[in-house]
């Protein structure tokens, strides 16, 4: 009895050693499903009481520029006749589990919904009771190979299409970046010219100038009186200066030309036609809304667009590296 316990324990140890408890390995690798390593061989010529222990395949989390897939292949050899249907559960991290009836399905591809690399794949026996009940000839072998995170590509044309798509994305992003580059400069130029125009407008409409315009006509009368009364005391130069004033003061124009009917000074916009005013108001509002102390939103958008351009250039280079074999016409 003691000996019987001993060799049964040895058989269990065999299964445990082979299967491993909750073992973790690289995303690419192999594992025995049905073999002497996972089953008991206590009955001569038979494999039975099999245990497929949970296994987690993991990846170091490398980035990818192309859609990725993980290929799971089942290899069978020997005679494995049985009425039982055995299934594995393949569960990529963050994705729903996929059932693999490994006696009838030889290959399956796993893809994340976002097609990014799978960082972790948990493989569990979905039918452990049936696996335990399995009793097959000792020649039966099922093993599983996982090729983790390979480009989801089956031909050179597909690889080229991925590159072409990335190139198109890059071209689009470059156009967008150039658009923002121009927009940033137009925006700033508008704001600057707005400042210049405001400055000129202020020069033309400030209180002193308006007062001058208002008083110019009266001042001319006064000058006239003064010139008549003091004619004898004036030099030729004095007379020329007074004549200049007589001639040029009217050029200031009427102060009313710079006033609105309500008496307020005309703004820059008030100097435009009504339709132009609308357009100007719109552009002015856009310019101000998109501006801030720390820079304009267009500048921020430019940086984002240009960052996206650089990222896409990087992505394209990475994609070319990842698909190098396919692009060269070979098969990885």
């Amino acid at each position: 009895m003691q000996t019987r316990t001993r060799w049964m324990a040895a058989a269990l140890v065999a299964a445990t050693v082979a299967a491993g408890a909750k073992k973790t390995s690289a995303l690419s690798g192999s594992m025995d499903l049905i073999s002497p390593a996972t089953c008991s061989t206590a009955q001569a010529g038979r494999l039975h009481t099999c245990v497929v222990a949970d296994r987690t395949f993991s990846s170091p989390g490398a980035e990818s520029a192309v859609p990725m897939r993980t290929k799971v292949t089942v290899t069978k050899s020997g005679t494995c006749t049985t009425a039982l249907t055995l299934r594995l559960s393949l569960k990529p991290q963050g994705e729903p589990a996929v059932l693999l009836p490994f006696q009838s399905t030889r290959e399956i591809f796993l893809r994340r919904r976002d097609r990014a690399p799978i960082t972790s794949l948990l493989i569990e026996d979905a039918t452990p009771n049936w696996t335990r009940a399995l009793n097959v000839p000792s020649s039966c072998r099922y093993s599983l190979q996982v090729v983790g995170n390979e480009p989801d590509v089956d031909s050179q044309a597909e690889a080229q299409a991925i590159i072409a798509d990335l190139e198109q994305q890059l071209a689009t992003k470059r156009t967008e970046s150039n658009y923002y580059r121009n927009l940033v400069q137009y925006h700033r130029a508008f704001m600057f010219l707005q400042s210049v125009a405001t400055n000129f407008h202020e020069e033309l409409t400030n209180e002193t100038v308006q007062e001058l315009r208002d008083g110019a006509e009266e001042a001319l009368n006064t000058l006239s009186v003064l010139a008549s009364a003091c004619d004898d005391a004036m030099t030729e130069q004095d007379r020329e200066n007074i004549m200049l004033l007589f001639f040029s003061l009217p050029q200031l124009g009427s102060a009313d030309d710079w006033r609105n009917p309500d008496g307020s000074t005309k703004t820059l916009a008030d100097c435009f036609g009504s339709r132009d005013q609308e357009i100007y108001a719109l552009v002015d509002r856009l310019a101000r809304e998109h501006d801030s102390e720390n820079g304009s939103q267009y500048e921020e958008a430019l940086v984002q667009a240009e960052t996206a351009v650089v990222e896409l250039e990087y992505k394209l280079t990475l994609a070319r590296a990842q698909l190098a074999s396919w692009l060269a016409g070979g098969v990885p």
């Binding site: 003691q2 000996t3 001993r6 060799w7 058989a11 140890v13 065999a14 299964a15 050693v17 082979a18 491993g20 390995s25 690289a26 690419s28 690798g29 594992m31 073999s35 002497p36 390593a37 996972t38 993991s58 170091p60 989390g61 490398a62 980035e63 520029a65 580059r181 940033v184 400069q185 925006h187 700033r188 130029a189 704001m191 600057f192 707005q194 400042s195 405001t198 400055n199 202020e202 400030n206 209180e207 002193t208 100038v209 007062e211 820079g295 304009s296 500048e299 430019l302 940086v303 240009e306 960052t307 351009v309 650089v310 990222e311 250039e313 990087y314 990475l318 070319r320 590296a321 990842q322």
Partner: protein
């Protein structure tokens, strides 16, 4: 008959060794030729391995004798049990006594019966080949001597002795031979099991040696892992942005290879350990029929694979640790690569937008500075405050305002370095106009206006002394003081 007895004795020659004598713990009873008491007609004795001899009167149970001799749990197989003549009687004398011979035969029977039932075959055989055998030889020799000097008085006892040994042979030696034959067959079968299992294990030795050799080689690559990753890390830390993908792929490929090597070796070791364990199970199963025999003689089934399985498990553990080490280092490198990639992307984006941003910042600063100039100009061009009653301009504040603007003139002249930031250029164009106007206001315009307004103040009744003070200040170029006096006088007209 005599020959038969000797044959029986010689059958155990391979077990032999003549028992050594030792101190005898006598019962102290004297021998008597009559049969009143058993201790007077014989003894049963036990020689312990440490030399202590214990004897008890014939008829004492062998169990009691062994107990009296002390525990011999671990050493019984080297202890000796044998019959002895009564105390003080020589063997030659003993064989002449029918009573003594009968008793010695009974004692022999008791010893054989007990040990056959309670001792293992090996111990039993050892006993038969030990001192018991020596006693029997002595009896045989004594018998020879007696035969040679056959005396009518001893003829009968001798015949009885031979008869008894014939009976003993049939009653005891036949089963003993059978038991030994069984043991031999059992040993042969065990040998077959062992040989078969060794034959099963034989092909695995080569696999084990191969894996052990691979493992040995694999272990030596540990230092190269650090070297290789350090090299990749060094190159990555110096790489340009678009060189990083190649390094990233190289690292991925390198880590895959290294992890695959660890995984493959671990898988191979696991499979072999499993295979060995399965064969061990078969071996144990084959040994099962012999468990009782093995337990009795060997105490345990020999462990044929424990060392190899343990070694393989250690290899698997090492490979697992190695893979974890690779994973950790590669993950750290990927994090570093990602950080460098992000940094270089930000740098590249910054470089490509820098010129545009510089233009934008320049225009923004120009606009801001120009807007300030416009605001100052607007402020400066506002008309001075006027008195309510006569509308006389008040000049002191306006003078101060113009003077304050002139203090900003260095912003656009930078007399120390001669360099003015370019973003001030446009603002300075506007400021120059402001400065010129302010200078004219401060130096001439305000003064002249005040001088012209003096006659207005006079007409409003302002004291001549005040007007005179204003004019004196104006003549002396003290325009601000004149403006302050003028403003005071102008405000006075409000209440005059």
């Amino acid at each position: 008959m005599k020959q038969t007895i000797f044959h029986w004795l010689s059958g155990f020659a391979w077990l032999a060794g003549v028992a050594c004598g030792g101190p005898i713990e006598s019962t102290g009873d004297d021998f008597a030729t009559t049969s009143q008491a058993l201790d007077q007609i014989g003894q049963v004795c036990m020689d312990r391995a440490d030399g202590l001899v214990t004897c008890r009167p014939s008829g004492t149970s062998i169990r009691d004798l062994i107990d009296a001799a002390g525990s011999c749990t671990d050493r019984c197989w080297v202890d000796e049990l044998y019959p002895a003549p009564p105390v003080g009687m020589a063997l030659d004398e003993a064989i002449r006594s029918t009573v003594v011979l009968d008793q010695m035969i009974r004692d022999t029977n008791a010893i054989i019966s007990y040990t056959r039932s309670n001792w293992s075959g090996e111990h039993y055989a050892n006993l038969i080949g030990g001192k018991l055998r020596a006693v029997l030889i002595q009896l045989n020799n004594a018998q020879d001597n007696a035969i040679n000097k056959r005396h009518p008085r001893i003829e009968k006892p001798l015949e009885d002795f031979e008869k008894k040994f014939v009976e003993t042979y049939h009653a005891e030696i036949d089963p003993l031979s059978a038991d030994l034959s069984d043991s031999k067959r059992a040993i042969e079968r065990i040998n077959e099991v062992v040989a078969k299992s060794l034959s099963d294990f034989q092909p695995l030795k080569a696999r084990y040696a191969q894996i052990a050799s691979r493992f040995q080689t694999y272990r030596t690559t540990e230092s190269s892992l650090v070297t290789d990753l350090t090299d990749i890390s060094r190159r990555a830390s110096q790489a340009e942005l678009l060189d990083l993908p190649a390094i990233s792929q190289e690292l991925l490929s390198y880590s895959s290879r290294k992890r695959a090597a660890a995984d493959e070796l671990a898988l191979e070791a696991t499979r072999l350990a499993s295979h060995i364990a399965q064969l061990e199970a078969v071996y144990q199963r084959r040994s099962e029929p012999h468990v009782a025999f093995i337990d009795r003689h060997l105490s345990a089934i020999p462990d044929m694979t424990g060392g190899a399985v343990k070694s393989l498990r250690n290899m698997v553990s090492y490979c697992d640790q190695r893979r974890l080490q690779i994973d950790a280092q590669v993950a750290r490198l990927f994090r570093g690569l990602t950080a460098r990639r992000d940094g270089l992307i930000a740098l590249a984006a910054d470089e490509r937008t820098r010129e545009t941003m510089r233009h934008a910042a320049h225009l923004k600063a120009s606009s801001t500075f120009l807007n300030e100039a416009t605001a100052r100009s607007s402020e400066l061009n506002k008309l001075p405050e006027r008195t309510a009653r006569y509308g006389l301009y008040l000049w002191a504040d306006k003078y101060d305002q113009n003077l304050a603007v002139l203090e900003l003139e260095p912003l656009c002249t930078a007399p120390d370095t001669g360099a003015v930031p370019s973003w001030r250029d446009s603002g300075c164009v506007a400021y120059k106009r402001i400065f010129n106007r302010a200078r004219t206001n401060v130096t001439t315009a305000i003064g002249r206006t005040i001088r012209l307004a003096v006659s207005q103040l006079r007409s409003k009744g302002v004291a001549e002394s005040i007007l005179s003070e204003i004019l004196v200040d104006l003549d002396a170029g003290r325009v601000r003081r004149a403006a302050v006096t003028y403003d005071t006088a102008a405000r006075l007209t409000e209440v005059m």
